[in-house]
Point group: C2
Chain length 241, copies 2
DNA sequence: CGACACTTTGAAGACGATCAACGCCGGTGG
DNA sequence: CCACCGGCGTTGATCGTCTTCAAAGTGTCG
């Protein structure tokens, strides 16, 4: 269970305001694979994952499904959709594993944002951060090879999930990760083999990042002016305003 | 000159509040090609373009430059950067043509958002809309061929710039548009030829969209559940909350 | 044990990027 | 006035990368 109070959404809020807001929360429990909402559904709620993780995805006309995001415990869900409720969900949301989340009615969230400037700015920070992330992601997709994408992703995951670089287990299936990276499973599979030569070993679900320099050399203009993709580390962590 | 008062940023604001905010505005005039800010610069201001247009881009290590966005008169600039001033500009901004814009200090904007709930929600709407746009864009890049991208772009431009479908002039150079679409000029050039067969004729800077159905058949799951990319039209127009 | 989802691998194919060369135009300077 | 240059746009040929098709191995769970 994730400590809800420390969510960046509530940073800087008075305990009383937080408590008042929390009274509108409902707890939702999902089992592995259960649908939280579907593409096109009306946007009625904002969520905060307290346990587990959720996959956001879209299904293309051919039935293929593209993963937009993997959201883990402690992170909010759909904070970017609350402002245009009229257009319906932009993605489908499904529990990757047994999960638990807090559900806040959109109307309450807007009300809170309208009345509490700090909360509004927190919300703005979150959405802005996601936008930045989306831009970086887009640039990566365009500029980097499959191998670079995978290396970059593994390294970021390592930081974000607080894993030990020297050895950790993949928290998601390879199929899911491949979809998240926008590539075919086959390509992902092939790519993994090549990574051995670049300081990253993957065997089954076990990953070991042996040579960090090899990863770091993939420079990316979106991440910093002249730095390396190691600065990704800061990207998802920062939320303060 | 664009009517500033009708900017979506100020929707629903009391005239007095708007006026108070506007007092902090400074007018900036840029000549064609002039730099507004560079990648990495501290984020000091939010802009509102009153006249002309601005290119946002990043320069990669090899010196190539990728266009992130083309912002035209009436639209705000950098509304997504104001919340993490510490990280510096994420893009460089340059005037595509002689332009004029209003400049608001970041501190004032934050202050306004903190005190005025409506303004805060307007800001949130803007950033959320941009995020949505970025996601759709990413999906397009991944799912559509070069020809589809160009067709889609031309059609959207037609709506966004209020052009006549039957015949209009490109407002930007082909080089710039190609960069905006994330493709090489050469590819863009070749693609244009192919479009003739699909109901879009381009000769020099003159474009005519003859067969709309041809364009419309490029369906895209990001835009609507089962609709066509014609719904792009709604995308950039909506900003209300 | 058998169904089925997940993963790996080989071979062929499609697409866009890259290399290279050329025509076009506006500006500059001799 | 003309020769030169740089930016822009077009076109042909080639190349690398990722997807697709096809097939088979691995694992889990009923």
């Amino acid at each position: 269970m994730y400590p809800v109070d420390s969510a960046s959404l509530f940073a800087g809020l008075a305990a009383s305001d937080k408590a008042a807001f929390m009274r509108h929360a409902r707890t939702r429990r999902l089992t592995r694979g259960e649908l939280l909402f579907a593409h096109g559904d009306p946007v009625t709620s904002l969520y905060l994952i307290t346990c587990g993780s959720v996959q956001l995805f879209r299904t293309t006309h051919e039935g293929q499904q593209k993963t937009i995001a993997l959201v883990k415990a402690g992170q909010p869900l759909c904070e970017d959709e609350i402002m245009d409720a009229c257009h319906g969900r932009r993605t489908s949301g499904v529990a990757v594993e047994d999960s638990e989340l807090l559900e806040f009615p959109v109307a309450r969230v807007k009300e809170m944002a309208r009345e509490n400037g700090t909360f509004a700015l927190n919300l703005l920070s979150l959405v802005a951060a996601r936008l930045h992330l989306a831009e970086v992601e887009a640039e990566h997709q365009a500029a980097m090879s499959a191998a670079q994408l995978v290396a970059c992703f593994l390294q970021r995951m390592c930081v974000l999930y607080d894993f030990n670089q020297a050895g950790f287990e993949l928290p998601y299936s390879k199929t899911l990760i491949a979809s998240r990276l926008g590539m075919e499973v086959k390509t992902f599979s092939r790519t993994i083999a090549k990574l051995k030569d670049h300081g990253i070993s993957v065997e089954g679900n076990h990953v070991a990042i042996l040579d960090l320099k090899a990863v770091g050399k993939y420079v990316c203009s979106a991440c910093s002016v002249a730095g390396s993709c190691n600065t990704h580390q800061a990207m998802e962590i920062k939320t303060a305003h």
